[in-house]
Amino acid sequence: MKDTVIVDEKQLIAKEKANNPSLLKTIWREIKHDKVALGSLVLLIIILLAAYLSPLYIDQAAQHRVNFLNVWKAPSADHWLGTDDGGRDVFGQLMLGTRNSFTIGFLVTVIAGAIGLTYGLIAGFYGGKVDNILMRILEFLMVLPSLMFIIVFVVVVPNYTIATFVLIMSAFAWFGKARLIRSRALQERELDYINASKTLGTPSWKIMFFEMFPNLSSLVIVNMTLTLAGNIGLETGLTFLGFGLPAGTPSLGTLISFARTPDIVQNKWWVWLPAALLILVMMLCINYVGQAVKRASDARQRLA
């Protein structure tokens, strides 16, 4: 008698787990089903591996050395993508640049996500007056032309480093997230489990971060994945204009910025075209994966 009970329980628990897959499992299932998203994920991983493992097969010191005998060489066996105006290997710059651009985009997304999450949670959880004030401030901040302000700050701030750049970009990237999270949080706070915790006397910050946040996590993940591409694009764009990474740091934007003179655009395409195409491909891949993640988080939209 006893044995049958235990086996039944175990089977019951196993069945429950099979019927309620975790978020990661759902996302993976959705990606597998969507062939394009799967292909994008694979391609993205290949690109990222090549970029982040580049110190293993690229001589980093050589990237900074200027070799005037080598300038503007077309692609060859020595230099897969030729050389640029300083005689530096373009392929090496491409790999290092991808690493830099992706790292910065990722950092900005995470930091902006943290700020937006906290802001939205606080506004949504407390509601009422606090929400009102916070939203007014947010509305006003959203009205400012972010790009102009970022560029001005980049120029004006003393001691300009990569860290400063990341902080400036993050400072303007969190507005949309905050609004999104705040509306969800406003809905969540009406639910019973929040009221129960409040009645029990749980401190507010614990409720916000340990109870409300896990239920919003799918929203956060989807939003961060989709904005990751946008942030990488923004960083590249800013570096392209000259207001991004400090000069001399390899970045996809610096490579593309060579395309501002007609001579290079036409005759020395190997410098900027691969970088432009790579950015395009990376952002498309991130977006396809992101769309699959978005569909996975909403049961009504799932394909698998």
């Binding site: 102009m148 120029v155 498309l284």
Partner: protein
């Protein structure tokens, strides 16, 4: 109704004032002030003389006094002197405003010409091959960064194919007002407008498509069909009326996107508009022009948002009761 418009307009004023304060603070953070560049390289004017001049012009006054004066000047149309070009800022802006306005206007027009039919087709015939193509195009429009697309467009159409010109807004040798001038102007606009528009359609198409899909399930559509209204009329008379109207209200958002997009597009095509002027001024550290441009853009965005709120309220009775 009028009361609502009045109230909404009044709400705009503190926003503009707040923005102007922020822009002013930003301007103070930037190195240089009204006297920078005025006496550059002139050996007769010593440092003490410049300092005295600063006192006299009130540049060492407390910030709120300076702010008051700056705001009063700005409202009357005096935006200060350019540090680099030794001209009033308004002179520099004069020719460029027209260029940027043309670019923005045509980009908006083309965006709507492309996005609205595509959105309607995608919403009405969901899951057909047409819809799939449109959705794929939308993915691309969302994912592609504007400047990469603009660059590739310029590469293919200007360099490889040589069909369209790049750089500046019109050929130099032409007289204003002639037919050739007009044609040249139009040709120079094509690439920048197309680059901006093809990418900018994302929000409109997605919104229209989703809204139509939602509306299709509503009761009034079923009623209309039960009444025997032909399918085409169900769409034009009932569904589109509900879906299209908020698009007009998105005008404010579109203006914001146009402003930031114009910075990239004008820089790539060397199109002499406000965005290009902004980049140039930053590069030459001409901060009075920069301040003026930031002020103008922020004001434009605030006004645009207000306009779209008003349009939305006129068009959607549910919002009027506030």
């Amino acid at each position: 109704m009028l009361k609502f418009i009045l109230r909404r307009t009044l709400l705009m004023i503190p926003q503009i004032i707040l923005v102007s304060i922020i822009v002013f603070m930003l301007a103070k953070m930037m190195p240089g002030d009204a006297l920078t560049g005025a006496f550059q390289g002139n050996p007769d004017v010593s440092q003490e003389k410049i300092e005295q001049l600063r006192e006299k012009l009130g540049l060492n006054d407390p910030w709120y006094q300076q702010y008051g004066r700056w705001l009063a000047n700005a409202v009357q149309g005096d935006l200060g002197q350019s540090y680099v070009h030794k001209q009033p800022v308004t002179h520099l802006l004069a020719g460029k405003v027209e260029n940027t306005l043309l670019l923005s206007f045509f980009t908006l027009v083309v965006v709507y010409i492309i996005a609205i039919p595509l959105g309607i087709i995608a919403g009405r015939w969901t899951d057909t091959w047409a819809d799939k193509i449109i959705v794929t195009y939308n993915y691309f429009a969302f994912a592609t960064p504007t400047f990469v697309f603009a660059l590739l467009m310029m590469y293919f159409f200007s360099f490889v194919l040589g069909w369209l010109p790049y750089g500046s807004s019109v050929d130099i040798k032409l007289e204003v007002g002639t037919w050739d001038y007009f044609v040249s102007r139009a040709k120079h606009l094509v690439l920048p407008v197309l680059s901006g528009a093809l990418i900018g359609t994302y929000t409109t198409i997605q919104y229209l498509r989703n809204d139509i899909i939602d509306q299709k399930l509503k009761d009034y559509v079923k009623t209309a069909r039960a009444k025997g209204v032909p399918e085409r009329k169900v769409y034009t008379r009932h569904i589109l009326r509900n879906s299209l109207l908020p698009i007009a209200a998105f005008l404010g958002l579109e203006i914001t996107l146009l402003i930031s997009g114009s910075i990239f597009i004008e820089s790539i095509f060397s199109y002499p508009g406000l965005g290009f002027l902004f980049i140039q001024s930053i590069q030459t550290r001409d901060f009075s022009v920069v301040t003026a441009l930031v002020l103008i853009s922020s004001t434009a965005v605030i006004v645009g948002t207000m306009l779209s709120d008003i349009i939305l309220s006129i068009v959607d009775p549910r919002i009027r009761i506030e």
